[in-house]
Amino acid sequence: MKKLITGVAIVFGLIFPSTHTIAAPPDDTFVVGLPTDTIGLEPAQISSRHTANIMKHIFGQLYSVSESGSIDPNLAESYVISDDGKEYTFTLKEGLTCHDGEALTAEDAAYSFNRVADEDLAFTGNSAGFVYKSIDFKEARADSEREVTIVLGGPNHIALGLIAEVYVHCKDSYEKMSKDEAASNPIGSGPYEFVKWDKGSQIVLKKAANPPIPTNFENVIWRVIPEASTRTAELIAGNVDMITNASPDQVEAIDASSTAKVAKVQGTRRMYVGFHQGPEFAVTPGGAAIQKPEVRRALQYAVNVPAICENLLNAPCTRMTGIVNPNNAHPNLEPYPYDPEIAEYLLDQAGYPRDANGVRFEITLQAGEGRYLNDKNVVLAICQYLDDVGVKTNCEILDWSAVYIPLIKEKKAGPMYFIGSGGATWSPLYDMADLSAPDSGPNYTKWMNEEWFKGWKVINNTNDEYIIRREIDRMLEVFYNEGPWLHLYFQPDFYGVSNRVNWNPRRDEKVDLFNATLK
């Protein structure tokens, strides 16, 4: 028995001293806790926000969108637009270097843009898909050592912000790598160099020898901690400096700790209930009812959005006034108030009085589960609010990936559906581009309003900022009065932040660690 006790003591003696390795990060290191791993490290193929957040620390962009929504120089110091609006010529800063040690030139920048469009490499995701389709990318060319020109199919008012989503990488290194090799060996141009990626565990970066923008921490570690309660525990224990996607039900525990606080921010993701306007749904009683703008307007008064935010999202919120984020919204439009009496009055006026059972019409509201913050309960609450004004609402909660997303993308969800759409702070037109054309991908409601789509023609045919803003405001009024969305809220984001560091979240779900400092 003595031998056994001695053996156990030796084993524990060996093990427990090493628990000192589980200490707070060193002063020159910032550790982030993420819920999911990166989807590869290929700069030309990014389709998730977490991946983009890591990549923007490894790769520079020509210009980048700041926290306030301004589009600022990053690798480039200036740009000019050709008279026909089709060519954007950027001048790179002097003395830039790639992480492979080579000088970063216009040739690298042009290569990066052309590589994304290379059909042989068959990239998918944000740049190759949405960005290039939106700007109608034609080619990129190096005009000189420091000048690179991006050629578009036509003028585009949001091109600069979209070009800012493309990451610049280094030609020599990428030409030597196969597509598979490039997916796990990023050779960047940004403030941090890639050190290693332990799949499913962590991505380690160190400050580049010649960072293009100033940054404070020498090392950044992105730790993958899928379980929300474990992320919270790591934060409270002081092992990570910041966690993303902090669970609302753990806000209290984090705030009650002496080591961390929760930073809540109203995000840019617009959460709404879509009213499908397609003829396929107009044959149902509810589907026919929501074809009328009067009915859609009435339903805006029926849902208590601030109460949903306070009680189900654990954060106060501002109700949307339409499709655009607040800093770019129409200055004179106020969010619809919660007033069920007005809702009932307007429904009566629209020709939908309550019947003997108290029902005006029946309708189905579809939603996916598990994608957005407390989505299922939010949808159930909306259904209840609509029931309360006599709209008998059948809530259909579906599996997100297998059932709901195919329905949404094929524009078959409805007649009402709940969804969120990523937005931006840097341009109202970016947010409005969900409805850039009657057949645009995200026009899931099949809304065909002539007044709205006429506005795009005006905007696309002028460079006059005043006329553009005036037209935007006119379109936003149309959307407010007749739009196909039941306005909800901008989804709040929760970050847990250690008391050891100064770091502020952004509204647009982008994570910048460049300005983070130690307290």
Partner: protein
């Protein structure tokens, strides 16, 4: 024995074929995964292009035949999520799961044997009652809850062990970095203790009950009485005469359990941020990463088949009456 192993090969091929078919059908029931691989604002044309690029535009039977023909050449396809060969992703995450599995099995075996024997020896006494009560508890507590409680009380409150994470050992061994691997070993073990305990607690409990009942049966046999009457010490009687026979049903269970653990540590891997195969498969299913799920299922199936084979061989070795 050689012929026995040879006879098992066609069975293995058949099992793998069945597994791939069932997995393929199960994954296809979930619908077309293309939508998860396009941007939020993708146009119908872009969705169609991506569908073609991913190969989901072909009829299902063609997709399956392509998969099978590639599989014969040991090409599992590329992970849609990681954009890397699926087999590479599996092999990168497998060592972490093997570490967790082996450590859990060690706890399960070496924890259950003394408990089971003690309970059998002191049958009906308070030791037996206490141990069996703990065993009952162990079989009732879900591993995810146990894991969270361990994090809360052992890691967060008293800071004895790390909350989550992983320090590689086996991976470095496979990469030939032996010095670094053994330098890591003490830290690796500290990171292994809690997740392994959360996985093994159920097995310890079940095996302890099994060993107890098996021992009780053996202890009442004539040859044990004979051994005692020869004047042998109780230690020799238990460990040399009784234990060897009591061990047989336990070997079967442990063999089966190894397969269960290697494929069933998903929840614990998620809670402890353990970058293993279970979590990779879980994520792959959530992300509809069909090639990765298929590759993982084939690899796990092969593991289970090999472990079952080893169990059969060990069983025959322990009990000479069994002929293979």
């Amino acid at each position: 024995m050689f012929f026995y192993i040879l006879r098992r090969i066609p069975q293995t091929v058949l099992v793998i074929f069945g597994v791939t078919l069932v997995t393929f059908i199960a994954l296809q029931i979930g619908g077309d995964p293309t939508y998860l691989f396009v941007s939020e604002r993708a146009s119908p044309e872009e969705i169609e292009e991506t569908r073609k690029m991913l190969g989901f535009d072909k009829p299902l039977h063609i997709q399956y035949l392509i998969y099978l023909s590639n599989l014969v050449q040991l090409d599992f396809g590329d992970s849609l999520y990681y954009r890397q060969p699926a087999l590479t992703v599996i092999l990168e995450t497998l060592p972490a799961t093997i570490e967790l599995t082996i450590f859990s099995m060690l706890i399960a075996i070496f924890g259950s044997i003394p408990f089971g024997i003690l309970a059998a020896i002191y049958r009906g006494k308070w030791i037996d009652g206490s141990l069996m009560a703990i065993a009952m508890l162990g079989q009732s507590i879900p591993s995810f809850w146990l894991g969270i409680m361990c994090i809360l009380y052992i890691s967060l409150n008293v800071s004895w062990l790390p909350i989550s994470g992983h320090v590689p050992f086996l991976m470095l061994i496979f990469q030939g970095e032996f010095i670094q691997a053994f330098k890591n070993l003490p830290t690796t073990i500290t990171y292994l203790i809690l997740p392994s305990f959360a996985v093994a607690f159920y097995s310890v409990s079940r095996n302890a009950r099994l060993i107890r009942s098996s021992m009780l049966e053996v202890l009442s046999q004539d040859y044990v009485r004979t051994a005692r009457s020869k004047g042998l010490s109780e230690y020799i009687v238990i460990m040399k005469h009784a234990m060897r026979n009591a061990w047989l049903p336990v070997v079967t269970i442990i063999g089966l359990e190894f397969g269960f653990v290697i494929s069933g540590v998903v929840v614990v891997e998620v809670i402890f941020a353990w970058p293993g195969l279970g979590r990779t498969v879980f994520d792959a299913i959530s992300n509809r990463d069909i090639p990765l799920v298929q590759a993982a299922v084939v690899v796990i199936s092969l593991f289970v088949i090999v472990i079952n084979l080893i169990t059969d061989l060990v069983y025959a070795k322990l009990d000479p009456r069994i002929k293979l």
